[in-house]
Amino acid sequence: MRLIQANLRATVLLVLTAIPAVAHTGNLDGGFLGGFAHPLFGSDHVVAMVAVGLWGAFLGPPPMLVLPIVFPLVMAVGGVLGIVGVPLPAAELAIATSAIVLGLMVASAARPPLWVAAAIVGAFAIFHGYAHGAELPAGTDAAAYSIGFVTATGLLHLAGIALGLTVRWPAGRMGVRGTGAAIACAGLLFLWRLA
């Protein structure tokens, strides 16, 4: 319980001191490093990506790694919608909601059928991808930028999985579930800031 409280406090502090709670700053330079940094500077994107990895840990291997396979591909479809300018309403709202839903899945150690988990993650991936696609800076080296941004997103998933591997120990399990609760709280905060 103490661990969960500590996690919650740390996350709230992190979120409050973070860069504005939208997925993307939109001010980054092009190139690989610009693309790589883009997902890392949006706290709502970061927590949702880490949550995907953490949730995978509760699904166990090999499904653990299915979500990080599904996410980038579906995210790219969302990215295409953003790049070509197809309107997708309430994308930021959906991104904040993704942190809440995915955080709750982790906090409750939910183990739905794999296709359900993949569908939930895939649905949110569309919105994350859309936000990135819509905010790609002009004059960017598209290839390097895209590779950087997909790589960073994937590495956030892997970071979540690495953290999630601690669920084999009781304290680790509590810690991961506590982190999930903290992510859900952060999602609420993102939602509140959007209101």
Partner: protein
Amino acid sequence: MKRLAGLALALPVLLPIEEACAHPAFAGATGFYGGLVHPLFVPTHAIAILSLGMLIGQQAPHWRWPLLLTYAAGLSAGFAAMVSAFAPRFSTEALLAATAIVGGLVALARGVPWLTGILALGVGIALALDSSPGGISVREANVIIVGTFCGAVILLGVLLEVAAILRREWQKLAMRILGSWMGASAILILAWQLAR
């Protein structure tokens, strides 16, 4: 060895990457050497070869070298077409579309040899047509083309052998994740190219 193999797979993704267009990969790299390293330093080419290497590496061992030869035949056909002054407008887009499919197949771990063969041929042709050296003498252009052919074949050969030795379950899954990254990147770049 296995760590080295993992690093070799990850390297093209992590390398600082230059702009994707046909030309010497970076200042000072001209001639045969410029052509040789060209596929490694042009992001769209690097992800195409990396994805194809992983897909071929996922096939049964007896398919690997025939598929590599198919790819080399595609490269030869593409370069032959280029030398014959055939200048397609959408070679980059075709390469990216093929890479998206290849990446998706790697992610699904559903490599079908005949489909992989068609994709290897297509990637070879598109990659060659997208590697036209411009604004130089015919002799130097030919040297660059030979260098690019060698670089593209060697790189794929190394990658598919590396992919083939990754046989543990987690290594196969890591490859599938990398495939999904490559596929996603190709889809995004393609959308960007078409929306420009």
